[in-house]
Symmetry: none
Subunit: 189 residues, 4 copies
DNA sequence: GATGAATGAGGATTCATTCAT
DNA sequence: GATGAATGAATCCTCATTCAT
């Protein structure tokens, strides 16, 4: 079972979503197609599981960052949050992109939705502490901007992730600067 | 020929890229498969043509906006630019998303690349006029952020585009606020 | 009409029988498919006409050689006959091979059969004059051997036709040496 | 797998190469198209395997004949060699012709080339023992003549193979009579 | 007569899934 | 539980032929 997921991961990383077919996965995993179907009811189910794990690890990482930054000023928290958000893209760009592609094709999975929500919650928690009026909207946008910049950066071969992170921080902080807050101090710090 | 493109467009809009197959396109277009292949050498060619048209219209729209805003302050130019950039997503969210997916799968097409470059050039032209040190990077990031926010907004059903546009402007202006400029005035206006 | 045959010939020569399709022929001939079908009822008919012409030219050439050698000894006649038989392969190896392939696929055509018969008759006339008991059989075999050697020689790129001709003469004369004759002289000359 | 080859063989024998298509083969073999593709990667591969087997059996038969005739005079060896060379055409004329046609269309296969070479080598071994100056050329020509006569005999329905063999022997011996040899005796025996 | 757009049956190939062993 | 051979619907594409203009 782990072998099946591992094999799928490898194919996703190397040749993308379209190259994932049950026969190839089974062969690479060293099991038979029959066994594959014993553990997963369908090809989709394998991908769904992988997507679930990705979302879980992402949300876990962001939640941890959010907790760690609980008492820190925004200018310090945002870079840490952004690093957490970008982590998967940075370490596994092709795999992550392929899994996001898979996620888009798959029917809505509750666990995946929960993971996405958790990512947002972590951001919301972080932003809420700093008095933003609509932390949900801001969280969603920041995550979306981040994904946008990272995906575009990846598209042209492996990018300089230091630069990517710097620009993401700039985008996030810039965006937040324009967001309405209750009783805010003039600076974000 | 237009009928074929129209049929493909309809399928793309309704059921996404995976649902586009030559038989269905031909049927919906009211022609035979043979005729389809008389006008397009392959399934890919149909999609390529549609992608090309999308890129062309996008770049045209942005170039026009850039020209129109030539002498205006950034705070006025950015909203106009952003509206132009988002137009396709706003009017045809599912179709546009499907075509972007198609674009990713298709081999690099010179016209499409030119279209993409033109979009960036329009942004660069606009930003360059306001003294940004690296307008290319800023242009790429703003376009990427924009796409990110729009795609995320679309994902959960048809969004309130007025809100989307407002947030995109906020993101773009916020990002630019943090960008290095030569001899810049303290404000963006 | 000649243009159609000419175009077909060109395709046959360059890309072989499988590459002959009505659209390509029409295009290369500079006419429309419709016109093509005005002159020839089917794709096969075009090929049949070409095969017919090949057989006609072959039989004409051999008949002429046979007539010219009417009063000459076999050792002189055979080289001339062989040269005539091989002429088409020598000048148009690819085209001739392609047409023989076509002939094999086509339904028996009376004209083509007549041409084949005429080739045989020319050989028979030549051999009959020299007292062979079964000139028909000998003629058929000599023609067949000739084709065999030529086709095999051609298979490995353009051969040295001087050598090919010499070997064919050797084969033909050697074969005839072993054939029963009525009142034959001990030598073939 | 054997069933697939058997079905293909049957179609080849009955209706020739053009009639071989994967659907028909699968149906006649009593398997699904999917199964066919489990055993053979393509239509060509099926034909290639059949061609390979034909070449193998031909070369095996000729090599055996060559070995058996190692110490016998040419006049005795040639009939045996010719019988071996013609065997496939004699027992399966239509199938053999169809497979040779297939071979011509298929990309060069190393095994098939080896088989062809082996056929020639067997002839060369046999001829070399009798002092022919250029046994390679003679071998090629004799094989080619043989094929030529057999194919032509076959063309007009199933021939009298006793007669065919006799004529092939005559052709081979006659050809060899005219070939240069080192220190040869006046007769071929 | 000429045109060439339209037709659609036919053919090769893929791959998710099943099920007898 | 495991296996992997078998399935066949689905898909892309070709090309001989027709027929309205």
């Amino acid at each position: 079972m782990e072998a099946i997921l591992e094999a799928t991961t490898r194919i996703l990383r190397q040749d993308g979503l379209a190259a994932v077919n049950t026969n190839r996965v089974a062969e690479l995993a060293g099991v038979s197609v029959g066994s594959l179907y014993q553990y997963f009811p369908s090809r989709e189910a394998i991908l769904a599981e992988l997507v679930r794990r990705l979302r879980l690890s992402m949300s876990g990482r962001l939640a941890a960052a959010s907790r760690a930054m609980q008492t820190r000023p925004l200018t310090e928290a945002i870079p840490v949050m952004m690093a957490a958000a970008v982590h998967a893209y940075e370490t596994e760009p092709r795999l992550t992109a392929a899994l996001e592609e898979a996620e888009a094709r798959l029917p809505r999975d509750p666990d995946v939705m929960a993971g996405r929500r958790a990512v947002k919650e972590a951001m919301i928690a972080c932003l809420g502490r700093h008095g933003f009026t609509d932390p949900g909207e801001a969280a969603m946008d920041i995550v979306a901007m981040t994904r946008g910049i990272v995906m575009a950066s990846i598209a042209g071969g492996p990018p300089d992730f230091a630069s990517v992170r710097r620009r993401i921080e700039r985008a996030a902080l810039g965006y937040l600067e324009g967001c309405p807050r209750v009783g805010q101090s003039p600076s974000l710090a």
